[in-house]
């Protein structure tokens, strides 16, 4: 072991994580904070379901319900799903393409801290006068009308977190374009890397409209502008467009990496290469492309006129085609294979029918004329939880079990994994299947309670019971994680036995410099190819040499923290607090000062010397 990873002690570890620029540690940071926010968002979901279990319930008040609802949606999408996806991007992509690190390790760390401070800022609203309460979509007329600082927390928090996501996206694009190991052509990239690539591109083009929308919202609420103020000549539909120009690609930003994870898991546990690899790549790109041309399907009832509605309806339907290609390719990957039902595979197998069910209701929603009935009813809630929970969350849970050994070097308990899988699966369908009918029966979404006698009672109760199952499933999962880490039984490089891609060729967890020698890639499923030829490790593409590594730095933490501080200044400036503007300025000074330091102090990184690497060899893989 080289000297860099030693020292330690508790504080040492904390400091190590605060300053780290190692993509594997950043992945863990994303996992911990994203996982934490998932629990928070889930807790909020449970409160929603408790409140709606019976009619005229007063478990929470109307205003509080709207806050919980808004924070549930916002937290789940921005603070749970996105960072958890970034967790796997970080943990897996550099290894899959045989890279030493990402293109911009510093920026990678900065992206995480921006997300983290944005998320913390957003959630502090609970303690500082109330959370945002205008829905995760925060439509302009209501959000301008909303008293207190809730919406300010929303706009500023998402702005900070969103900046982190944007630079994270650029980082992965450059990493994938520039840092692939020799021999890894685009058409040899594992599918997860492909989805990471397309998702990052979507991030690059979808987040700027959100950034602008949020700026306009911030200006309107805090600095007196008139973008959405009708009396001042403004227009609220602008916000709706910005939100959905961002929002629709956003759901594909979430689902594509999920598709990627399943495209890794299915071949491994079918022992068969991915069926139709090139059409999968093609479909991924096509979904990404079409994803930008359909946003107005969220606005069918806004009154855009029949021409716009018809165009967007047909464009939306087109997405069924590439998605269908994927579904059939997955099934045919299993066809003729040797399917083994491990926990990750169970999630993958359950994902297929669940996502098809959610996807086809999406196509139903795309029928503009019928969407006038579905829109803003529980039918929509059912649709998107089918695709988000049945697609994204299943993928994240599958990925958690699948990549856990690679990230931590231990194996989650399979029995517990399966128990929590079944509980989650049953609970999920119980919760959301019935909501389709609630919607059709006339129950609008985002209602804090409903009156008895409208026929909503039974279905809502069933739905709430389902949510309880999901709650238990999550508890079992958390227990599993703790239990596994306490036992700490180490595993080998390729613990599932059938790993196909490069990440399974090195130890679990990998050394901090990843590949000692950059591997030579000779085809798709590089590691599988070598194994089939009876090799025990990858053929290197270079001799052992010094490895250049980036230095740790605390600056990302401070750059992000400065914005966090500045956001308070901007927000309380509305209340004429005398300290607000100074705080705003101090925040910006912290940020700009840290950026300045970053650019004037040369940071060339350091080298791990050949000799130290030779040492490592003797110790062998950790197992």
């Amino acid at each position: 072991m080289s000297s860099y990873a030693q020292k330690k002690g508790f504080l040492g570890t904390i400091w190590d994580y605060l300053t780290t620029v190692d993509h594997k540690k950043i992945a863990i940071l994303y996992l911990i904070s994203g996982g934490f926010f998932f629990l928070i968002g889930g807790l909020e979901a449970l409160m929603i379901r408790i409140q709606l279990a019976v009619p005229n319930n007063d478990f929470v008040s109307a205003g509080l319900y709207n806050e919980i609802l808004t924070m549930h949606g916002t937290t789940m999408i921005f603070l749970a799903a996105m960072p958890l996806i970034f967790c796997f991007l970080n943990a897996v992509v550099p290894l899959q393409i045989g890279a030493r690190d990402v293109a911009f390790p510093f920026v990678n760390a900065l992206g995480f801290w921006l997300f983290f401070f944005g998320g913390v800022f957003l959630n502090l609203s609970w303690f500082l006068g109330g959370a945002p309460d205008a829905g995760w979509t925060s439509y302009a007329s209501l959000s301008l009308h909303s008293p207190g600082h809730g919406i300010d927390f929303y706009a500023l928090g998402l702005q900070i977190a969103g900046a982190g996501t944007l630079i994270g996206g650029i980082n992965f694009l450059v990493t994938i374009i520039n840092m692939r190991a020799p021999g890894m052509t685009y058409m040899r990239m594992p599918l997860f890397t492909w989805t990471a690539f397309v998702t990052s591109a979507l991030i690059l083009f979808a987040f700027p409209p959100l950034t602008v929308g949020l700026f306009l919202m911030i200006f309107d609420r805090m600095f007196g502008s008139n973008f959405f103020v009708v009396a001042g000549g403004g227009n609220t539909i602008i916000w709706e467009h910005f939100f959905w120009i961002f929002g629709h690609p956003e759901v594909y930003i979430l689902i594509l990496p999920a598709f990627g994870i399943f495209s890794e898991i299915l071949p491994v546990f079918s022992r068969k290469r991915l069926f139709g690899y090139s059409s999968m790549v093609f479909a991924t790109v096509l979904i990404g492309f079409l994803g930008f041309m359909v946003w107005a399907h969220h606005m069918f009832t806004t009154g855009l006129g029949p021409i716009a509605n018809a165009i967007f309806a047909v464009a939306t339907m087109a997405i069924a085609v590439p998605t269908g290609i994927k579904i059939f390719n997955w099934i045919f990957t299993m066809w003729g294979g040797s399917v083994k039902f491990t926990t990750p595979m169970l999630y993958a197998v359950a994902f297929i029918p669940t996502f098809v069910a959610g996807g086809v209701t999406g196509i139903m929603l795309a029928v503009a004329a019928a969407d006038y009935q579905y829109h803003d009813s529980y039918f929509v809630v059912a649709h998107f939880h089918y695709v988000i929970v049945g697609g994204v969350v299943f993928a994240l849970l599958a990925g958690l079990h699948f990549y856990w050994p690679k990230m931590f070097g231990t194996m989650l308990n399979e029995a517990m994994g399966k128990i929590s899988f079944w509980l989650f699966l049953i609970g999920f369908h119980l919760t959301f299947f019935i909501q389709h009918f609630l919607g059709l029966m006339g129950m609008p979404r985002r209602v804090w309670t409903y009156l008895p006698g409208q026929g909503f009672e039974t279905a809502n109760l069933i739905s709430s019971i389902g949510a309880a199952f999901m709650g238990i499933a999550v508890i079992v999962m958390v227990y599993n994680v703790i239990h596994t880490q306490v036992r700490g039984v180490k595993v080998s490089n390729d613990p599932w036995g059938d790993g196909r891609t490069l990440e399974w060729a090195i130890s679990s967890p990998p050394p901090f410099y990843n590949f000692k020698q950059t591997p030579l890639v000779r085809g798709l499923d590089a590691w599988w190819l070598e194994k089939m030829e009876g090799k025990k490790e990858m053929t290197p593409a270079e001799p052992v040499g010094d490895i250049h590594m980036p230095n740790n730095s605390i600056l990302p933490f401070f750059i992000a923290m400065g914005l966090f501080v500045a956001a308070f200044g901007a927000m309380y400036h509305v209340d004429d607090k005398p300290w607000a503007i100074p705080v705003l300025i101090i925040g910006f000074i912290i940020t700009l000062g840290s950026m300045f330091l970053r650019s004037v102090v040369d940071d060339h990184g350091h080298h791990i010397h050949k000799e130290d690497l030779m040492d490592d060899k003797d110790k062998g893989v950790k197992a």
């Binding site: 911009f104 520039n178 987040f207 409209p209 200006f219 008139n226 227009n235 910005f242």
Partner: protein, 209 residues
């Protein structure tokens, strides 16, 4: 360290900005960033187009009443010329002529400052003569946000180029800072690209009505 190796004009590589992996990454990453910026500015342009001349009270100034083309023309010339001067700077960078590069960068910065001064004067004029402010109407909000975002970019670019010049004044060109200069000049060109659309869409089209 490769990046700090000393060069002569002869050993200096043909594409110094892309000769190291770091340089390559920076180069590509920055272009991607510009792709995102394109969408960002497009969003601001779109907002402006939707809110142009939207004022609560029709007696308030519209685009036609406000703009004065001579000033805009002057500002345009300053910015266009600064784009050319930054090309000259990169020309000398490629030829490993640090002094000349710095000189041209300095001219670029001066032209940029001139542009900013004109813009601030212009805003000042609108505010005092026409009471056309950020908060007076949706039109005002959209106008100042679009043009101001661009102005902010100019200001940031000036700070950036200046600090690059100062930081490297003593040590000259190497493969560590060449990509930085190159990327800063890309940024500067992009600012010019945006301005071309601003003077066309905001000012010229504003005068046509």
């Amino acid at each position: 360290m490769h990046a700090e190796e000393k060069f002569t004009p002869k050993t200096w590589p043909a594409a110094p900005e892309k000769s190291t992996l770091e340089g390559k990454n920076k180069f590509l990453g920055f272009w991607l960033f510009l792709g995102g910026e394109t969408v960002l500015f497009a969003s601001l342009f779109a907002t402006y187009l939707a809110l142009k001349d939207r004022v609560p009270d029709q007696s308030m100034a519209h685009a036609k009443d406000l703009f004065e083309l001579p000033t805009v023309f002057l500002a345009t010339m300053l910015l266009l010329f600064s784009s050319l001067t930054s090309v000259y700077a990169m020309y000398h960078m490629k030829n490993y002529n640090f002094k000349k590069m710095q000189a041209w960068l300095l001219i670029t910065v001066l032209l940029g400052v001139g542009f900013l001064v004109l813009e601030i004067q212009e805003f000042n004029h609108y505010v005092h003569e026409f009471h056309h402010t950020f908060t007076s109407s949706a039109f005002g909000s959209a106008f100042y946000t679009l043009v101001g975002f661009h102005g902010g970019h100019v200001a940031f670019g000036l700070l950036w180029i200046t600090s690059l010049m100062l930081r490297n004044a003593k040590r000259g060109l190497n493969l560590y800072n060449a990509p930085k200069f190159y990327v800063a000049s890309l940024y500067w060109h992009f600012i010019d690209v945006v301005w071309v659309f601003i003077f066309t869409v905001v000012y010229l089209m504003g005068m046509v009505g």
